[in-house]
């Protein structure tokens, strides 16, 4: 490569990136607005702050799973020259409790330790080295308590309790739903299969660990800049736990370096706040290292899932019986909501007339279970989609045929009895998959393998609910301003954690107001400047905020045109059109610039806001108010059909994914490139979940809390992915869109597992499908000369 040819003018790149000279239309792959600053290293993440005179803060953590805290001895740390101070629960003025639904997690431990990551003391020091050394010099004394480690044992009477005052022993939330005859309908089935599936704990492993900084501003208000998905909720949690008025706390949320649910809720915000209250005016910084991120961060809940699925001779599903146990660790976080979501999706995208679903979300002294892309759907999809293949095998029916025969259509009721009233493209996804060459050429592909390497293909049909469910309001407030200079400023209320919603916002505003991107400025979420718009989660960012933004941009357009019509003596708005930089009269051809119109409007008139609240299910499918509060049921769903093609090394048990196809109904696509990014990224995380990622915990302690032993997929582990969008218009969505953020992560585990079964005639009921497990099943199968599936 010649040196002179390696470079392209920055101005050219800006052109390509912001496409300065044209309006970004809906439906085009407009380059991401953040890409240029990210590729040049200019984006400032929360972890990139190194201010003058900054104090470093860090947390002394318990290191034991269950114990009463006796003493904290910081006398040796206090002699360290770089030590500033140590803060304990006694320095916390508020409730010292945080949590999204149930406030059961202390900021700093004040009674007992409930997991190894519990925070005991907050230490402030002059620099990073002094901080680390001071933390090491603090010693803790405990009285050990017997740990609660297994979900089913935790529910037995006589089990030690994680929370002494919890009303239902170690059960955080339980739920039961019965549809039709429930399991009594098993007698009417011609075929019945049964299995227990266990899925593992998954680590988010965002490249940017939890990080942020904080300071007291000149008015004595607490300002926290941090990597978060939930600035507005954080503000309330921090204020309450630290005893501050909500109005005295400001949260600023820059781009995150990945989040995936792990930054949904408070991670280090309260520590930063408490620290800033005690630094005598100096700014304070905190950045967890990788091990601390593993230790203290939330995980995808490990699940144990007992399934019985029955069908009639003609292939129609007839009954489903599910028992579901989730290990939520010591604190609620979002565990109850994950359980409700898992129950709702436990039957997959199928019509099943008789259902009984029972689930328990259980406290233990293991790491905290919390939000993770897929949010409970990932676990139950692994179960239902594997047992669907087991049923197809039992019935000697093609697995695609079985799915097509039972797939949900609009107007059907899903497994919790909720009528599907929004766009429902499950059959469309399956049909498009059935015509794709990866499916039609599968037999040829399977036969072209090499000796000792068996090839197989596996399907998964997936659905994912959007938003918060029937009770918790899923709302957004968008704000768009015509600046005094005649530019457009968009106040984004929902964090862009990497998923690209900022670009979608830019596209929506550019499209509606007819302005080129160089005249549009985006303001990142900031509780002082932008308006409350909920979390960056639940596949709802562009759906909910996009709808609000359409309203705000349309209102502003109307105001601009009305004032321009008055000024230009036009009879009505329709005679005028917004063009880049101004308004043109279509009758006269005369144009006035936006900068001039801005002067004709008052400040209040130049700012348009719009509130949108997502529709909710009107059907009441359960009288259990607690389940409803926790989000059951949803009313808008995305759908997908996945196909994995794998090669299994019979000598080592290693599974390689050679090709992958995902056909997704996520409504209309606003930006095809960003849509694909979400599909690819979700599948890669799902592949890690299927094959290698397993956060191992023994007696409450993590065994592999680093990236050399917790194995994320590399570029060689993710195959070429074929992604097809089935663009069915969703009438309630912005420009017909539904959520795309989570759904694709649910497909890989069951699709790969079904493909391994297809290749080798084995079924591994415990994920991930490591070489040891696969080889063990192959050898066992060979020894018995039969399938080892758990058929009834």
């Amino acid at each position: 490569m010649k040196e002179s040819e390696r470079h392209t003018p920055i101005t050219d790149l800006l052109l390509a990136q912001r496409t300065h000279n044209r309006i970004l239309s809906i439906g085009t792959s407009a380059p991401r607005v953040d890409a240029y600053d990210k590729v040049t290293g200019r984006v400032e993440y929360a972890s990139d702050y190194y201010g003058n005179n900054v104090v470093w803060a860090g947390v002394k953590r318990a290191g034991v799973p269950h114990a009463r805290l006796k003493t904290i001895d910081s006398s040796r740390a206090e002699k360290h020259p770089g030590f500033i101070c140590v803060l304990t629960h006694e320095n916390v003025s508020g409730t010292n409790r945080q949590g999204v639904v149930k406030k059961d997690q202390p900021v700093l431990v004040d009674d007992k330790v409930r997991y190894c990551g519990d925070a005991i003391a907050l230490v402030l020091a002059e620099n990073k080295t002094a901080l680390k050394e001071s933390l090491d010099l603090i010693t803790l004394d405990f009285i050990s308590l017997p740990p609660v480690l297994d979900v089913e044992k935790a529910m037995e009477s006589g089990s030690p309790l994680v929370h002494d005052n919890n009303s239902d022993g170690n059960i955080l939330l339980k739920g039961e739903l019965r549809i039709g005859l429930g399991s009594a309908a098993e007698e009417e089935c011609d075929f019945l299969v049964e299995a227990c599936f266990e899925t593992q704990r998954q680590e988010h492993a965002y490249l940017e660990t939890e990080a942020g900084w904080a300071y007291m501003d000149e008015d004595g208000r607490l300002v926290i800049v941090c990597s978060t998905q939930t600035p507005f909720r954080d503000r309330m949690e921090v204020a309450e736990s630290l005893g501050l008025d909500t109005g005295r706390v400001r949260i600023i949320a820059p781009y995150t370096g990945g989040a995936f649910g792990g930054k949904d809720g408070v991670t280090l915000q309260s520590f930063l706040g408490l620290a800033a209250l005690n630094t005598k005016g100096r700014p304070v910084k905190m950045c967890w290292d990788r091990e601390e991120s593993f230790l203290a961060g939330t995980k995808r809940h490990p699940a144990r899932m007992y399934y019985r699925l029955g069908a009639k001779k003609d292939g129609s599903l007839h009954c489903l019986d599910v028992r579901l146990y989730l290990d939520t660790g010591p604190y609620d976080h979002l565990g109850g909501v994950v359980l409700a979501q898992a129950l709702e999706h436990a039957g997959g995208p199928y019509r099943i007339p008789n259902v009984v679903l029972r689930g328990w979300c259980v406290y233990t002294n293991n790491p905290i279970g919390g939000a993770f892309r897929g949010f409970g759907v990932t676990q139950v999809t692994a179960a239902i989609e594997q047992i669907m293949d087991m049923l197809a095998d039992r019935m000697d029916m093609d697995p695609l045929e079985l799915r097509l025969k039972n797939a949900l259509k609009r107007g059907d009721k899903n497994c919790v009895g909720k009528t599907l009233v929004s766009s429902t493209g499950m059959i469309d996804c399956l049909e498009i998959l059935s015509k794709h060459s990866v499916w039609t050429e599968r037999e040829t592909w399977k036969r072209s393998g090499v000796p000792f390497r068996q090839r197989g293909v596996g399907l998964a049909a997936v659905m994912q609910g959007l938003g918060y469910g029937p009770v918790v309001p899923d709302y957004a407030n968008a704000k768009v301003e015509l600046t005094s200079e005649g530019n457009i400023r968009v106040y984004c209320g929902v964090v862009d954690m990497g998923q690209g919603n900022d670009t979608a916002n830019l596209q929506i505003v550019s499209h509606i107001l007819g302005q080129n991107p160089d005249r549009i400025e985006l303001v990142q979420p900031d509780t002082d400047r932008t308006l409350p718009s909920g979390s960056a989660s639940a596949s709802r960012c562009t759906y909910t905020f996009g709808n609000a933004l359409i309203g705000a941009a349309t209102t502003l357009m109307d105001r601009i045109l009305k004032r321009a019509a008055d000024f230009m003596m036009a009879a009505r708005n329709e005679e005028l059109v917004l063009v880049p930089g101004g308004v043109r009269c279509l009758l006269t051809g005369h144009e006035i610039p936006l900068s001039k119109i801005a002067k004709l409007l008052s400040h209040d008139e130049r700012v348009a806001t719009h509130h949108f609240r997502a529709p909710v299910a009107t059907e009441v499918i359960t009288t259990d108010q607690n389940l409803r509060l926790h989000g059951l049921p949803h009313t808008i769903f995305s759908y997908a059909a996945h196909l994995a093609c794998v090669e299994v090394d019979e000598l080592t048990g290693k599974v390689e994914i050679k090709r992958y196809l995902a056909v997704s109904d996520c409504g209309k696509v606003l930006n095809p490139q960003i849509f694909e990014q979400q599909i690819h990224g979700g599948i890669a995380q799902g592949i890690g979940y299927a094959l290698s990622e397993d956060l191992e915990v023994l007696e409450g302690r993590m065994l592999n809390s680093n990236l050399s032993t917790y194995l994320l997929p590399t570029a060689e582990d993710v195959p070429e992915i074929y992604s097809v969008a089935v663009e069915i218009y969703e009438p309630t969505g912005p420009f017909g869109l539904k959520g795309v953020g989570e759904i694709s992560t649910n497909g890989p585990l069951p699709a790969v597992s079904n493909a391994v079964a297809d290749a080798c005639g084995i079924r591994v009921h415990q994920s991930p499908l490591t070489p040891e497990r696969v080889l063990g099943a192959i050898l066992k199968n060979r020894g018995r000369g039969e399938h080892v599936e758990d058929h009834v």
Partner: protein
């Protein structure tokens, strides 16, 4: 530990710093010199987010100590643009959608540059193999492979003119 005077070239400029010889290069760059485009993610050499170029070859700055860069030419992501021109790889990363959260991006761009220098015409499999030391949690890698391949093709097309 006492400090050491260390002289090296950083992004084409000769500089001199005072640093403890055992200070990590990633801290020197980020904290002492304000070049925060170099990221730290694992601090243990597992993820590649802190990749820099040392004499044109990719190295992990979280595993290097300040004394080791004495007399060497260091390139960070901030130094890739030259004479108001960004690197072709940066352009293809933007155009091909190879960037999501962006935290791995600086490291992957620099590792890709080293890869293309060693192999100007890599297959997709060779690109994947070459980037195996750089973790990305967002993209699934496919668009990164697209971007690296496009940069390689673009250079070859220009050279054949």
């Amino acid at each position: 530990m006492s400090t050491l005077r260390i002289t090296f070239r950083l992004n084409r400029k000769e500089i001199q710093i005072e640093a403890a010889p055992d200070r990590r290069v990633s801290d020197v760059l980020r904290e002492d010199l304000g070049l925060t485009g170099t990221k730290e993610s694992c601090g243990a050499g597992d993820c590649g987010a802190c990749t820099i170029l040392v004499d044109g070859e990719s190295r992990l700055s979280c595993l290097m100590l300040a004394a080791q860069i004495q007399g060497h030419e260091i390139t960070t992501i901030e130094g890739l643009a030259k004479d108001q021109r960004v690197h072709l790889l940066q352009k293809t990363f933007v155009e091909h959608g190879a960037i999501q959260c962006g935290f791995c991006t600086p490291g992957i761009v620099l590792a890709s540059l080293d890869l293309l220098k060693r192999n100007p015409n890599p297959t997709r499999a060779q690109i994947r193999e070459g980037l195996v030391g750089n973790l990305c949690r967002c993209t699934g890698y496919q668009k990164i492979v697209d971007a690296v391949q496009a940069a390689a093709v673009s250079v070859q097309e220009e050279e054949s003119l």
